[in-house]
Each structure stands twice: as structure tokens, then as C-alpha cells.
Symmetry: C2
Subunit: 215 residues, 2 copies
């Protein structure tokens, strides 16, 4: 059983968590880093397969190569936006990888646990969904520890595999920049940049079947 204070702590952490793009160079204490990774490792996984690995990149050379891959993809993506939307897109910061003292590449091994992992036999992508749950645990732990985290999702997976020596059957699920920051946003960056608005929760809930509104 949890106390009111414990419940409130969880909600406060959930509501405070942000995707952060600017970092200080200060190193992360090893003990704190292990708490983050242990939180991730206690995420749920389909058939208890624990499909994740964590590659820790703190070397400048490695971070620069990852930043190069992300920037290349960013320039390619920019071509799909036109006019003011392209300017807005290009103004979004992505230097986070180089600034942050640490990048964590979290991967998913679809072969772990053998050929007939419980549940994954029915829905194969549950291994990736499990890995995302692990990321969310890590993100909340980072928030609680006063750390900032940014999920980089601009890259070609083959570039990341080449840079980090990841075997072809392993999925690089996310590049996560982690570090301290002076600018912890109070609302999502894409909301304050007028890129997207938060939707009303009520409109997202259906009663008994799709499209049937709640009262």
C-alpha cells in the first residue's frame, strides 16, 4: 500500500517529466546512472523476455558521430516541410547529443528468450513495446533525480548500427541524451513552440466501443 505522499510524488514526477534538448556538460554520478538503468530493467516485458540492452556513449568521438547521423536525417526531414513550417522545424534544437555528457542507446533483441516467447508469439512488436516501457521508467527516474532526458528519433537505424557496432537483427529503439540542464521546460517544447497542442483527455476516451463518447 502506498501513502498519499507517495501517490502525489508519482503524479508530480509524471507531470514534470519533459523531453529536454539543452544540457550542461556536468557528469552524471555513477550511482545515479545505475538507479536509472535499474529502473529501466524493472520495466514490464512480454514473456519476461527483458529484450533490452543499454549502450552508454560518453566518449566525444562517439557522440559526434551520433550527432552527425541525427543532423543528416534532420536535414533530409526538413525537405518535407515548406515555408514557415520549415523555418520552425529547423529552429528546433538538436545539439543535445553533443552537449549531454551521456547518450544511452537502448536496443531490443527480438531473439532473446528463444523462438516462442510468451505473448510475443501472438504480437511480435510487443518486444519493442516492452523496451518503450523500460524507457519510460528510466525517464521518470531521471526526472526524479533532477536529470534531463531527450529522446532523439531522427536517424537511420543502419547509421546507428554502423556507428555502435550493433548486429543487424538488433533494433536500436532510441537514443537518449541524459544530463543536467539549466532550462527544464514547464511545458512540452513543441507546445510552447506552437507546433502542437495538448488534446483534451475527455475526447480520447470511449465507452464500451470505438467512437462512443463518455458522458
Amino acid at each position: 500500500m502506498f501513502t498519499e505522499q507517495e501517490k502525489e510524488a508519482l503524479y508530480k514526477i509524471i507531470y514534470t517529466r519533459r523531453d529536454v534538448r539543452t544540457f550542461l556538460s556536468d557528469a552524471i554520478p555513477e550511482e545515479t546512472l545505475m538507479k536509472l538503468l535499474n529502473a529501466a530493467h524493472h520495466g514490464p516485458s512480454v514473456g519476461f523476455m527483458q529484450p533490452w540492452n543499454f549502450i552508454l556513449i560518453s566518449d566525444d568521438k562517439g557522440k559526434e558521430r551520433l550527432a552527425w547521423a541525427a543532423d543528416k536525417e534532420r536535414r533530409a526531414l526538413a525537405i518535407h516541410y515548406e515555408g514557415a513550417r520549415q523555418d520552425e522545424f529547423l529552429s528546433l534544437k538538436i545539439e543535445g547529443i553533443k552537449q549531454a555528457p551521456l547518450t544511452i542507446c537502448i536496443t531490443c533483441d527480438p531473439t532473446r528468450g528463444g523462438s516462442h516467447v510468451l505473448g510475443r508469439n501472438s504480437i511480435p512488436e510487443t518486444d519493442m513495446l516492452s523496451t518503450a516501457c523500460a524507457i519510460q521508467n528510466m525517464w521518470l527516474a531521471a526526472t526524479a533525480e533532477g536529470l534531463a532526458m531527450g529522446w532523439v528519433s531522427f536517424y537511420k537505424k543502419s547509421d546507428i548500427r554502423d556507428i555502435l557496432g550493433i548486429p543487424p537483427h538488433i533494433e536500436p529503439i532510441a537514443l537518449l541524451s541524459v544530463g543536467y540542464t539549466e532550462h527544464y521546460p514547464s511545458m512540452p517544447i513543441l507546445e510552447s513552440a506552437n507546433w502542437e497542442k495538448r488534446r483534451a483527455l475527455k475526447d480520447l476516451i470511449f465507452n464500451e466501443s470505438w467512437g462512443n463518447p463518455i458522458v
Copy 2:
């Protein structure tokens, strides 16, 4: 900034969270349910697309049809296991859907936010990963509220679409049984059933590149 107590609360909730399969029939207070859904809605999402919807199924008829779809898939999956492993598989409980007062089907709409969602333009499955992060927020909130949750991943998506009237382009990501329980497991059910063991975290961490152990 978070206090030591707040940090500890988060880790305690993360370590306590379990996938639960047996439920009491007691209803969930509406206020508590809204807290769970609001926690999910504050998950991160690629390009802030918030691709999720929540279908609440509390009607017995709806739950029975979902349980039928899950049981059908369970019997099909059992054929892939042989001998003792098949007996073990069939002994795992899946009556949770019928027992729990509520099933939440969480879906992902890949068309939300238009044709060029930031980040998803690069890695399309980031919409599903976002939805999984929302599920993890909801799961932690349920744990903190003294509720049990079980993620059902045995079904054919087309059955779930038929039963709940979900349009063909929308992904049913998970069926989540939610309710109170008398049997909150202290370790993962699949661990106590000797189906799988928890891996050593240290072996899952690599330094700078794949396969390079940490000291």
C-alpha cells in the same frame, strides 16, 4: 527538484509494479480511473502527437467477447509448446479479463497529427512506442493507487477491431485488465512459475559500443 522521499516513492512503485492476472470484482472509483488515464495522457509522444485513445469496457458482454478472443488465441499458441512446457503454458491464468471490473483497450492512431509528424517521419513505429510509454505511466499510477493491472497480449488484432468497432487503420496496442486484487505478486508471475529468470543488469550494459562490457 524532488525530495529523497519523493525519489524513494517512485522507485518503490517501479519495483512493486507487477503484471496481475487475478482480480476482485469491486468497481474502480471514477476519480481514481481518471487519475490513471490522465497519467497515461501525460506520457511522452513523438512530435507531441498523443496518438492514443482509451476504450473502457466494463459491460459483461464486451468483456466476455474479449475473453473469448484471448482464449482462442491461447489455445492456438499452446500448440507451439510441447510436453511439460505445454502443461506449464496452459496452467497460466488468463481469466483476468472476465474477473476484472474494467478492461482498457489502448489504441494508437498513426494518422493523428497529419502526414509529417516530427520524428515519426523518420521512425514510423515511434507512435506505438509513445503509446507504450503512456501504458507504463498508467501502470505505475495503478500500482500507486493499490490497483492491479494485467497486460493481455494474446489476441488477433482483427478480432479486437471487430469486437470493439475499431477502424482498420487504428492499432489496438494492448488490452489492460484493471481492478483490485487479493493476490498482488511479490515477483513476476513468470519468474515464480520458473518460466523465465531476471537477468543480471550488469550483463545488459555495454560501454561505448555493442558487446564491450562495463568494468
